[in-house]
């Protein structure tokens, strides 16, 4: 069943009315075409109005939509010859953070990305897209391999956060993420990170030290979830909506504060409305980013990344 978002209710009600009139038209042979046309115009207008005035909390809902396209959806839609590669060569294979090689316009690339499921069974297998240390270490292994063969790295960011578990702590969740931050800083190949859903704190940052960071229009990137922020700030998780606004976690917010480089437009209503159409926008952003970064030398790539993160911060 399709998941309905609260702010879409007026649209769904109107659509139901139109459908009803349509069926009356066919069944009872009464002509409602004028009314239907009128309502369709009204619907289009209302849709435009709602979708172009999304609040932070609405975007959080879209970012968390069960049917929102995942890393693998974009990988299959955008790249050719994708071969998934497994394991960190140390402990295991983390299905919450996947990777592999592929090509785009004939150029070989390495891809890593958080991977959640769209249904419960797959979500359990994918640990709801929350990686263990071996996920970050697999990602690092593949990124170093990309560096050896001088091919760009594309990262898809989509996680509530790195997994908060006992085993994760034992195997060094902190070190795995920290290591990635430092190693990514030094990669001599182009790195592009694209936040496609939720960008949850350190777990998201662990594959985001890139030359370019893009965010889908309805994705989020935050130091803490809105619920977490609300419970710490106001001891009340139900104020998450207020926190989402206050924490400035949306793509337009973060573009404004220069934390990210670009916002990738989403199709009306959000990426889940049409995965293939959305992939076209994501592909265009990747092509544009690669065209720019392919021009830079190894040293320039490292310097550009340094300068990019060096300037982030607000103080007097």
């Amino acid at each position: 069943m399709e998941q309905i978002l609260p702010f879409e209710k007026p649209l769904i009600e109107l659509r139901a009315k139109i459908d009803e009139l349509n069926s009356v038209t066919t069944e009872a042979n009464i002509d409602f075409s004028e009314e239907i046309a009128h309502l369709e115009t009204k619907l289009a207008k209302l849709q435009d109005e709602i979708y172009s005035n999304l609040e932070a909390w609405d975007r959080v809902q879209i970012a968390r939509h069960q049917q929102r396209p995942t890393s693998l959806d974009y990988i299959h839609a955008i790249f050719d010859e994708f071969i998934e590669l497994h394991g960190d060569r140390n402990y295991g294979d983390d299905e919450a953070l996947i990777g592999g090689i592929a090509s785009i316009d004939g150029q070989a690339v390495t891809i890593v990305g958080h991977q959640r499921g769209k249904a419960t069974k797959e979500n359990i297998r994918r640990n709801f897209g929350m990686p263990h240390p071996e996920g970050y270490r697999k990602a690092l292994r593949l990124m170093k391999q990309a560096e050896k063969f001088n091919r760009p790295v594309i990262c898809f960011v989509d996680t509530k956060g790195a997994y908060p578990g006992k085993a994760a702590e034992e195997r060094g969740q902190s070190e795995a993420i920290a290591r990635n931050l430092v190693e990514m800083a030094g990669l001599t190949v182009p790195v592009i990170s694209i936040v496609i859903g939720e960008g949850g704190s350190g777990g998201a940052l662990g594959i985001s030290v890139a030359n370019q960071i893009y965010m889908l229009e309805n994705s989020t990137f935050s130091v803490i979830s809105p619920e977490g922020a609300a419970s710490i700030l106001w001891k009340d998780a139900s104020l998450a909506k207020t926190a989402a606004e206050a924490m400035r976690i949306t793509a337009p917010n973060l573009k404004e504060s220069e934390v990210i480089d670009d916002v990738i437009q989403e199709i009306p209503g959000g990426a889940h409305k049409n995965q293939d159409e959305q992939a076209v926008y994501v592909a265009a952003a990747i092509r544009k980013g690669l065209a720019e970064l392919n021009q830079l030398s190894k040293d320039e790539l490292v310097e550009q990344r340094y300068a990019k993160f060096r300037k982030i911060g607000s103080f007097a």
Binding site: Q173, V182, S201, A229, R310
Partner: protein, 282 residues
């Protein structure tokens, strides 16, 4: 006031009040084993309980005094001021209170100094300032300190003590993890030494960034070190966590630390390591 007087207070005085009196006075009661020490003696013992060996939290000034050669420390970037990028009500005011309380401009003290005559750059996080949390100024001060060490080609040493990234600055705080990392990568690429000493507590975004990527990762005994909060993990895994979970000892056992260093051996150990990385010193 004599020791006898302190302890002859009638029982009716509330416990909290009693503890406050002891702390404020010439005596100090260990929060772990309740052993009472003369404050001056505790200070001489580097704020380590002589009975149970508990390493009490110390502020950044005390840490500098314990670690560097006397009179060699010159602090850096004391002028940087925290602003309120997200417009959180009361945020700057809270920072102002801690500025007054600690005499620091933010939750980290950075500067140049010497250990047994050898130059280093040091950063000491201070958990008495907003729990040591990292916002833009903390990230900037640490980054500038790393860059200074790289420029001078001297070791960079950090003592971490922090609950993590500072929520009130949102994604800007998160990105300080990346900013400090790019600086450390350059420092390392140019062949320079970086030592991380994790002290109580080192958690969240601090543990998941610079604290964990030293050429040497050390910790003080019993320090709390971890990525996720204990309560969060307990809720997730629904099992009882071991008592030593996320302590320095737990990390050592799981291969996450090079060594646990008691406070009374800290300066000597750091000095030896710095010496072993100095050309022609041996």
């Amino acid at each position: 006031m004599s020791i006898k007087n302190i302890f002859s207070k009638p029982n009716k005085i509330k416990k909290a009040q009693e503890q406050n009196d002891i702390k404020a006075g010439v005596m100090h009661q260990c929060s772990e084993c309740k052993h009472v020490t003369v404050t001056k003696d505790l200070q001489k013992n580097l704020h380590v309980c002589p009975k149970c060996n508990y390493h009490h939290k110390i502020n950044s000034t005390e840490r500098i005094a314990q670690t560097l050669d006397e009179g060699t420390f010159e602090s850096m970037d004391d002028h940087l001021k925290t602003v309120n990028p997200l417009g959180f009500p009361g945020y700057v005011e809270k920072v102002e209170i801690d500025i007054a309380k600690t005499g620091l401009n933010e939750a980290v003290l950075t500067g140049t100094g010497e250990i047994d005559g050898r130059p280093i750059v040091i950063a000491v996080m201070d958990s008495f300032f907003r729990m040591g949390s990292m916002g833009s100024v903390v990230g900037e001060k640490i980054t500038r300190a790393v860059e200074k060490a790289t420029e001078l080609k001297v070791p960079f040493i950090i003592f971490t003590a922090s609950g993590g990234a500072r929520m009130q600055e949102g994604a800007l705080s998160l990105m300080q993890m990346a900013k400090t990392s790019v600086a450390l990568e350059k420092h390392s690429r140019e062949g320079n030494l970086y030592i991380s000493v994790m002290t109580h507590p080192t958690t969240g975004g601090i543990s998941a960034s610079f604290a964990s990527v030293g050429d040497y990762n050390f910790a003080e005994p019993q320090a709390l070190i971890g990525f996720a909060g204990r309560r969060v993990i307990e809720q997730t895994v629904r099992e009882k966590l071991p008592d030593d979970f996320q302590t320095a000892e737990f990390l050592l056992k799981h291969g996450q630390l090079d060594k646990i260093i008691p406070r009374n051996e800290m300066k000597q150990t750091l000095s030896t390591i710095v010496k072993l990385h100095t050309k022609g010193a041996n």
